[in-house]
Amino acid sequence: MDPVSTLPKLLGLAWLLPLVSFTLIVFFGPRMGKSGSKAGYLATGAILASCVLSLFALFFVWLPGYGLPAPAHHQAAAESSHEAPAGTAHDAAPSVKAITGDWYTLGKFGSLRITIGYYIDSLTMLMFSMVTVIATCIHFYAYGYMHYELHEVVDHEVKLPNGQHLHRRGRFHRFFQYMSLFCFSMLGIVIAGNIAMVFVFWELVGICSYFLIGFYIERKSACVAANKAFIVNRVGDFGMIIGMMIFFGTLGTFAFGDIDTDGDGKPEPGLFSLVRSEENHHALATPDGMIKAAAAAEIGRGVVPTAEQIQAWREDISPGSPGRYAYWLLITAGLGIFCGCVGKSAQFPLHVWLPDAMEGPTPVSALVHSATMVAAGVYLVGRFYPMFAPEVLLVIAVIGCITLFVAATIAITATDIKRVLAYSTVSQLGYMMLALGVGGWAAGMFHLITHAFFKSLLFMCSGSVIHACHTNEMTKMGGLRKKMPWTAYTMLAGCLAIMGAGIPFSIGLSGHYSKDAILAQALSFKAGNPFYGWLFYVAAGGAAITAFYMFRLWFMTFAGTPRDHHIYEHAHESPKVMYYPLVMLSVFAVGIGWSVERFGIQPLLEQTRPAGILAMSNGVLMPDLVYPSEHASHLDEFHGPSTYVATATALCGFLLAVVFYGLRILDPNEVRNQFQLIYRFLIHKWYFDELYDAIFVQPLLFVARRVADFDKKVIDVFIDKLALVTRMVAGLDDLIDRYFVDGFVNSAAAGIYGVGTWFHGAETGKLRQYVMFIVIGTVALFVLISFYLNSTLAGF
């Protein structure tokens, strides 16, 4: 089968199936089986079909069409690009080109188009498979987890004023309705062929997340968390819109790839080729559109922008020159898009919404808030990677690094099992951002995929625990491994995977490979930019914290003796429909990082690596900023030490957890008492919520109230005074009319009479008169005017 024509159809179908399921459930949900139980079948069936289609597309269309990825000659490739001097280094375009095109146009204005289209490369294929596989597992799991929604629910967290708990009807079908919409929206982001389409589905996943976080609409905390999630994301979107504006305003297109839009057989360049043109060997250069926009003042003076002139402008980056301004546009636009990713992927400083989002049911946390939606920000950075100037990448790296550290520290003290995982998610997303920011495109994307599997596994295990204990507090758990062995040992696999357990240079769990790749890249970046060496050290330290809090979680939950016997007595293993998906995911969590011969995630990613991003590059405004080729990180000088560091730090963290929580040799309470100040700082999550409330929320509300007051107390008072004056004048007119112009009771008087009555308000008694007046007036107006105005008046 020809991939170019088949893949858009296959993936398009896989994309639309959940939408069909959503639509059907919206209309017929409550009538699907007993209390909507069949809605679960429908949604699960739809995503399963999508999954089959995606895997079929990967294994039977993509791989046969493009062959297995070329064997990686990392060492050789790295050597060559490492030694090539900066500026001349270039790499050929990938052998496999992305399949891109438009399905449908939303709007077309002159040469500007906004469309719904597709961009399919191996990253798309991987993401499609990852999302649908995980979503399918979670749908099955949710069928068991959400079972209580099939009959009347007593919500123990909602207390009514009469002291009773809330009784409500089950909302089983509604849960699956939102899940289907979510899957559709998420796949829409992945398949999107342009940044505007990404934005459309970006908002849609946001609204699904809103609905799912606020699934228990009766709980105030859930509603507040849902609002917080959406509004904080909108703050990110604000930046994203600015980025989109700049790209669209200066380059006139949103498309990623080259698409023939006018049908002349020659593809119009997309964003990627505009910034990294083939003539420029795919190296990043300020695109012509931005130069022209920056030189608007020159052009307005009549300078005709020839190619030479544009090149001259581009090369001159002295302060105040158009070239510098244009490069700033490129940076600002890139930062704008990244701002959207910061919101969606819960990066510092917009990370505050994700932990609160845990108010949603656990399957939602597993799917939306760990594996897929929050990873969409990272995905977009990866997708948009060719557009980021080195300076932007540096910002991404710093933000990622701060995030991974802040979140990891908060995870140490959290006692809510889902919140620990939430902060762990934020931290891991920080790792991905860091990887992308230090030039590790493949490393970041690789970690995105492996993390999706082990983190959704971890969340589902925590859900299984919550299902059994009816509490999120780890301080009430303990010893549960005897009661629920499947959950305990699949979760152990997840913990080992996230910690990156493995034997150096031989074999390990999936996280072992991806975290190694990130650390190696950070180390390689450190070699070129010693000033940013701290990025590597923080990342390495973070690995230790990760291992510590994950095993703290596992030991507190499953090991030792039960802390609350009542809960322990009632705990039980979850039904098969819930733990089969756990087993399935734990297999992936263990093995998804492996490359067998030439088949694996990394080689697949390399197959369609965006053109030009492998080359060594330098900053323009920061010439000292050097981005090494990603292949350089495979050199022994970086790969070796980083592997040792990763293993050692993870082991440290693990041992600490064993000492404190596994064997309970040391008492964590003592440490807590010793470091009261730090503990309080961490347990209050670095006081971010309080800070934002004080510097954003309250001032905004204050301004809002002042604005509303201004209307009432300034504008309206002015208007009322004006009305009073008018009324007095009208009264005066009336007097004059009555006493001085008594004889002239004609059309003018009628007018005054009208004004007078208007000001006295419409008294209902005279209503019929008014209406008759208006009816006659209106109908006769046209005629009257023609009669009364005679031609002698004309001729002005």
Binding site: M245, Y325, D711, I774, T778
Partner: protein, 584 residues
């Protein structure tokens, strides 16, 4: 041909008036019959416009979406002594608004069933109001336009003042004063333009384009008419809007200097004031919240759905094409009005405690997009006169008018539905409606999300297209306008939370929260359907409007280019302007 159009357009405009006259003969106590009759009349008018929109209708009734010029034009003598004509026509700018008007009017007549007081007077005024609104969108003679504008004003005043809430008289007078003020400005501008105009300045071709000379007769007859025109000794003043546009864009008829500024500068300002009162833009907006809060639900729907659009329509149809030079000079002012309204309206909405007032302020904010989108004059020298971004802005603004017409009348109706049941609008005394009225809440959330600008619903397209188009005009305004998405999300989500979510209803009359009736469902369902259809398939609207909007922009861009290249002083102005914008 022409006679068909006379019949068609006159029928559309005056059928409601005929209905109003017929209502006068209904017995007083047959209230349901009167309501039904009025509904039938509005439905027939709606069907007439739908027939025009259908593809493949023969007999000259079909609106040809591919044509960017005026179509269905006719021009008859009305008051020859002042050269005032009964002159109407349609293009892609007015036709979607015409459809919106007939559609919203029909739905709000359906929403008028709870009206019990003076039903006959209500129905008569309602139908007269429809005539006024339709006439405004169809009139091409400035005087006729003004007459319809006033005709629309009076019924509205009474509909608020008699059938409104407790403070109805205050609200009605406020509405009347504001709008009257606008009308006076408009009248002054109309007369200024009228007395400055001279048809003889136009070329033969322009006379035909402006329909001063009938385009339905053969060339010989045209030549004869033109000759007769040119033979007249004194200047020939005109109210013909198309002719005024030609004069504004191709001659210097309106460039006389008055008080240091050109005549068209003053005319533009006066007209703009008249129109932005209607839009309404901050700071001329305070009539709107009061009028909405006091008006009965159906009148709120018309007010938000149609009346506000006349401001935007006037700016697109009249201000810019007739006074391009003034428009160019004041473009930043216009955009600023839009942006300030967007931000100010959003903030004010955030602070409201009254459900209806909140929706009213959201209208202020959303209509700001319209003013902004129209104003982004980015076809300037620095952009090599590329008008694409401006086209996008103006198309977005037009789309936003349609989208806002649908979403805001839907929002007002949804407020009305709940008000009919519990008789209060205090946002702090709702909650838990989702459990009590699931269908109503689901539909309401859909409509409110359309207002929030969620992709897949109509609000998104207008807002995003306008916002994206601003960058090429002004960076600062673009950034501010982008930030409005945060405020909008905040006030809409906060409202939804307070009204629909939560464990239980907290206000009075909780036992009256019965589910939606079929009638209510039949009103809101079409609105939500269109909100979705236009959000998913915006081409359904752009198909009709883009050719004409693009033409308007192209004409203005051509004027800018001509102006910049012909007169050096203006070109210098343009450069300075460019430089200042670029620096931002």
């Amino acid at each position: 041909m022409e006679s068909t159009y006379v019949t068609l357009l006159s029928l559309i405009v005056f059928l409601p008036t005929a209905g109003a006259l017929a209502l006068a003969f209904f017995p007083r106590e047959k209230t349901d019959a009167m309501k039904t009759f009025s509904l039938v009349v509005t439905a027939v008018v709606f069907l007439l416009t739908v027939i025009m929109a259908l593809p493949g209708q023969g007999g000259g009734w079909q609106f040809d979406a591919a044509v960017s010029e005026m179509q269905k034009v006719f021009s008859l003598d009305w008051i020859p002594s002042f050269n005032i004509r009964y002159f109407m026509g349609l293009d892609g700018i007015s036709f979607p608004l015409l459809l919106l008007t007939t559609f919203i009017t029909m739905l709000s007549m359906g929403a008028s069933w709870p009206i019990q007081k003076h039903v006959k007077a209500y129905c008569i005024l309602f139908l007269l109001l429809e005539t006024g609104m339709l006439g405004v969108f169809l009139a091409l003679d400035f005087f006729l336009f003004y007459v319809f504008w006033e005709v629309m004003l009076l019924p509205m005043y009474f509909l608020i003042g008699v059938w409104g809430g407790p403070r109805r008289e205050y609200a009605a007078i406020k509405f009347f004063l504001y709008t009257l003020l606008g009308s006076v400005f408009m009248l002054i501008a109309i007369l200024m333009l009228y007395f400055a105009s001279d048809l003889k300045l136009l070329s033969d071709k322009q006379l035909v384009v402006a329909n001063v000379v009938s385009s339905y007769v053969d060339q010989a007859a045209q030549a004869e008419q033109i000759a007769a025109l040119r033979a007249q000794p004194q200047p020939i003043h005109t109210f013909n809007i198309l002719a005024l546009q030609q004069l504004g864009q191709h001659t210097d008829a309106f460039d006389t200097i008055i008080l240091g500024k050109s005549l068209q500068w003053w005319a533009f300002l006066l007209l703009l004031l008249g129109f932005v009162i209607k839009v309404p833009s901050v700071p001329l907006h305070t009539w709107l919240p009061d009028a909405h809060v006091e008006a009965p639900t159906p009148i709120s729907m018309i007010l938000a759905g149609v009346l506000l659009k006349m401001g935007g329509y006037g700016i697109i149809r009249i201000c810019y094409p007739i006074c391009p030079h003034a428009g160019y000079d004041l473009a930043y002012f216009v955009c600023l009005l839009g942006v300030v309204s967007m931000v100010y309206g959003g903030f004010a909405a955030l602070a409201q405690k009254d459900f209806k007032r909140l929706v009213a302020y959201s209208s202020v904010s959303h209509m700001g997009y319209v003013v902004l989108g129209i104003g982004v004059w980015s076809a300037v020298a620095g952009n090599q006169f590329n008008a694409d971004a401006w086209k996008m802005g103006m198309n977005g603004a037009m789309f936003q008018m349609i989208a806002h017409g649908i979403s805001s009348s839907g929002m007002f109706f949804m407020v009305g539905v709940i008000y009919d049941r519990v008789h209060h609008r205090n946002l702090d005394q709702f909650g838990g409606l989702f459990a009590k009225m699931p269908v109503y809440s689901g539909l309401a959330i859909g409509i409110f999300f359309a207002g929030l600008g969620l992709p897949g619903l109509c609000g998104f397209i207008g807002e995003v297209f306008v916002t994206l188009s601003v960058w090429n005009y002004s960076h600062a305004l673009a950034v501010i306008s982008a930030s409005v998405v945060i405020i909008t999300a905040a006030y809409i989500l906060w409202t939804l939370q307070r009204v629909y979510l939560g464990p239980e209803y907290r206000g009075p009359h909780g036992d009256h929260l019965h589910p939606m009736t079929i009638r209510e469902l039949a009103i809101v369902a079409p609105l939500l359907v269109f909100a979705i259809v236009f959000g998913v398939y915006p081409q359904a609207v752009f198909h009709y409007m883009t050719p004409s909007v693009d033409r308007t922009v192209d004409d203005l861009a051509a004027w800018t280019r001509m102006e910049a290249t012909s007169s050096p002083s203006t070109a210098d102005d343009a450069q300075e302007r460019e430089a200042s914008i670029a620096q931002q």
